[in-house]
Symmetry: C2
Subunit: 420 residues, 2 copies
Amino acid sequence: MNTPSALFVDLYELTMAQVYYDRGMTAQAVFELTVRQLPDGWDYLIAAGLDRALDFLEHLRFADDDLAFLSTLPQFDQAFIDQLRNLRFTGDVWAPPEGTLVYPHEPLIQVVAPLPEAQLVETAMINQLAYATLVASKAARAVDAAAGKTVVEFGGRRAHGSEAAVEAARAAYIAGFEATSSVEAGRRYGIPTTGTMAHSFILAEADEAAAFDAFASRYPGTTLLVDTYDTAAGVTNAIRTAKQRGHGSVGAIRIDSGDFLNESWQARIKLDTAGLSDIRIVVSGGLDEYRIAELENANAPIDVYACGTFIVAPTDAPTLDSAYKMVEYDARPVAKRSIGKPSIGHRKQVWRSADTDYIGLSRDTGPANTVPVLEAVMRSGRRLAQEEPSLDEIRTRAAAGRSRRDIQWLDSIQNFPDRT
Amino acid sequence: MNTPSALFVDLYELTMAQVYYDRGMTAQAVFELTVRQLPDGWDYLIAAGLDRALDFLEHLRFADDDLAFLSTLPQFDQAFIDQLRNLRFTGDVWAPPEGTLVYPHEPLIQVVAPLPEAQLVETAMINQLAYATLVASKAARAVDAAAGKTVVEFGGRRAHGSEAAVEAARAAYIAGFEATSSVEAGRRYGIPTTGTMAHSFILAEADEAAAFDAFASRYPGTTLLVDTYDTAAGVTNAIRTAKQRGHGSVGAIRIDSGDFLNESWQARIKLDTAGLSDIRIVVSGGLDEYRIAELENANAPIDVYACGTFIVAPTDAPTLDSAYKMVEYDARPVAKRSIGKPSIGHRKQVWRSADTDYIGLSRDTGPANTVPVLEAVMRSGRRLAQEEPSLDEIRTRAAAGRSRRDIQWLDSIQNFPDRT
């Protein structure tokens, strides 16, 4: 979870860089990372991952052992290795601050740097920004669906590695999740941590009632997992523990299997009948925004949705359809025309009004009553101090107006793509 | 990409551990990580990720700053913090060696350790093993579909973070991919690295022909990307470069968009007509085993398939449906009966014959003419030296017999689940 090494590149970025240096092609390039198309049914993205992307740029250094490895490859000569030894990222970066709503074709990051530098960071920029943005956007949909109910993140084990687990917890928190089960994410990012108990805890004890009593006595107000053997009997045991240990001893029950609508109503009625209407109901297992919306539409008496798998590795969007493309070189707009995957040349800016985004050239003046979405976040390789907002500031930004926006292309750009 | 910290746990693993210690529940537990169900259409899994999982276990230590953070949480008392300070993983581990074919209900790892230790490592074991196994298994399907053609991995940018990128490259290599674009994976694991050129390289030059000439002159035998503007014209330019620079100057062309079947035939015919039948054709973009099989069935003249997105973050299986479940505690078999997600108690072994796997109790004797699949890989917290095969040994193992196997449950276990 540290900043990736300078070798976190695809080989071709290095071979291209060597040719660029050989040929003196170090003029300024502009690269933009954009999402070409939203996953089906999605209305927006929540920008996330910028903090780590900028860290990577600011700390980019080829260490001695990086260079020693490159020397073993047939592609690179000593002059290039020496060039890499002194390479620092010296460019400017513009981006929507984390937590900003972003739409297709709008840059998640715009890198303005000498061509070899801008090229070399391609893999890291896509890798670090696309996943965080994916999770923040998916998680925001779950928060929207939960309609004010609490949503928490339990997905660490399902994430693609430990780095993904922690970054997913951060992205979900940005999107409005209230807590994570990941202790490392709590330590690293100050995200509230939460958890209940596992089935194994119940299985290790003589019986479920003994397990509940042991846990509630150690953690008053805890959440008891009721579905290990039989959910109805589990709720009865939880009620017994709550009654025996008194008010506040049991904060919630968790249901992790079965028909959540039916099970939650059965549990709610039993708890209320027992005078325990302050005990909350947590559900977990297979939850995404569609399942949450179903349960909310059916008026399920669920207080907390714990989401894992489908937030950290979404089935409907395991990745975002994104690309990091050069749009200008040496002040000349450029674009590829590849079938089905054309890029759109020119360095861009996005202007936002209450209901419309306008995409135009960065040198355009934005329409009246709009604000620019891309902000300068790095100058000459140094982060701009004012652009390191707290996680809670980012989270507040992400909570603002998630309605669909029209996207319009300003006249200056709409006849693009063309290479001239 | 270093070993995750000891805080790579879900909070509940720590709260449960504290109660286990409080109550003296440190008897031996057996946990097994299994995949409940294969993704649709899949016939097998390729076990991967064990090396990192064992590293995590062997190096598990709560460092001072880990403990300092835990002290700030309301759940933990000083006695427990002190206990964690001295905690080491002291258990035994059994597993199929990496590269082994694995089927549903067969343990990917079996952890035999005092209950708190076995519980604490749950998140890390699932996280490290499930993703690597997922990618190795998906990649193996692509290798199968390619029917002897070369398959390489270009997915680093699409992976969920830099750790996932490198581990995916390793897993794909285990499955039979021949190279990766990830330089870090090359350095870390000795995997051959490969790459071509990006569209930006073409765009930065005055024109495509100049770009091709620059690249081929620096890297004789390289691969030229021909679809930036127009694939047919790109092939013509590649032919010109190859003719001008002579035999061996251009090794391959890459097509990254359009109809691969049609484009590859057009290119093949042009290249052959020009007497350049030794120039190979690489395709990339949106490839998975289904697309590869289509192209192979249509007899596409493609020599190399470069796979990215759909190998490192498969659409049909963003995660594996796996669970790390306690199956014995203090010599007593245990299982949960949760609706739709029951576990199967008893410490298990798998015996493999030429066409059938038998799952039984670890204390069973395997059927005649079978070999056990789970091997001892760690004793008392130390890796067994002979169990650190080279990546190429693992790869060779993974290449062996991928046909579907029957799975049978031995009499001793088939009436499980039951708790008694």
